[in-house]
Symmetry: C2
Subunit: 224 residues, 2 copies
Amino acid sequence: MCLSHQKSTFSDLSNDAKDELSRLKTCVSFRKGQVIIHEGARPQGVYCIHRGKVKLYTMGTEGKEQIIRFITNGELIGYRSLLSDEAISASATALEDTFACYIPKSSFFKVIEENPKFSLKLLKMSCHELGEAGKMITSLAQKNVKERLAEILLILRATFGEDEEGYLDISLTREEIANMVGTATESVIRLISELKKDGYISSKGKRIAVSDRGALQQIANIFE
Amino acid sequence: MCLSHQKSTFSDLSNDAKDELSRLKTCVSFRKGQVIIHEGARPQGVYCIHRGKVKLYTMGTEGKEQIIRFITNGELIGYRSLLSDEAISASATALEDTFACYIPKSSFFKVIEENPKFSLKLLKMSCHELGEAGKMITSLAQKNVKERLAEILLILRATFGEDEEGYLDISLTREEIANMVGTATESVIRLISELKKDGYISSKGKRIAVSDRGALQQIANIFE
DNA sequence: GGCAAGCAATGACTTTTATCATATCTTTGA
DNA sequence: TCAAAGATATGATAAAAGTCATTGCTTGCC
């Protein structure tokens, strides 16, 4: 159950509050490809991911997905629209079989009201996300496709890590990568071939491994 | 003073809380072009704009500004990094002479802790901003320059309104518009000429007037 | 009022990226 | 296990956008 996660959004709550939450929540699961929340809908609660990987995306013109970010263990889905009292602005779909807790709107607000520290934590979280969104805006506006692709590969590595064989521990199609980078699928494929030829990454089927992190950082213009 | 604004971030506070804030705050003013907060710095407080217009932007590679959004009467500057406890992620510069209240970090947090409703309002605000940022990401990633320019012109109109002559009540150079749209200055100039020729906007010097809102919405692919 | 600095405008040209077409490789499920 | 569907790969070409160069217009300041 997601409350027990070390890094769960709810991890800092008192035991009492956690106990109450665990009474109010229900457990749900989603199969790979299943839509969890849908853009435009009015949310009735939030999901806290226990185990799994989820993409958050908006539909652009021509029905093309734009992936905004990923959500994984311990993180929330749907809190943004619940708190801003707006329609859901981004759909969420499971990228692999996913298990989550569902917390109804009223219970969620109850926890917020009774736990000022939790409310502050949410505030901190959303402000952090805002900073990340700003970075993404600047990259999309100013970097070229190759720079953006290198940046996204590094983000994927930092977010999901690597499996035993060194491949990124996340399975995305080239099209999904293109939908993050903001480009055509063919361009991603071409550039992945190029990065592979230059020895900065390797790939087998859809799986990708970062082999030269420094080189990617240089390509992406990241100095940290 | 900014606390008295109808639409100020602080408008819902109790009179007591407002009184206390007004003791803790100081008044500051910025001349056109003056930097208010600087990317990378650690903020020591927040600014609440009383009167004026401010651009919020990050520096991309090659030192090119990327304007994330504008801030005007009643809105806060610097709260994001204060709340997420990070370095300032976006600089703010006055676009015209601007008057603001400065509220030191400790006072700001005091108000948050003592007024749960205010804390919730900030949460709502930042969640709303997150939604807007998501929209901007999708536009930048999927729309072409002309569509984005039309969208930005509509946003400027909605944010700043028009003066007596019907011109947008905000003075931006073509370069600044390009820094919002995420394109080259020349491209913005060319497209403004084109929109003007087609009769959708008019312009005189740097001033721009939207004459056919519907047409711009159609160009921008906005259906609302 | 005139002059300089900064901005806007436009043309010519290059580079980047998208699109379309087609071939080949991988998965997946009957 | 084998066929079909779905993904990846690559080439040719077109379209979009950026860059560089130059001219002309505004504006603000002495």
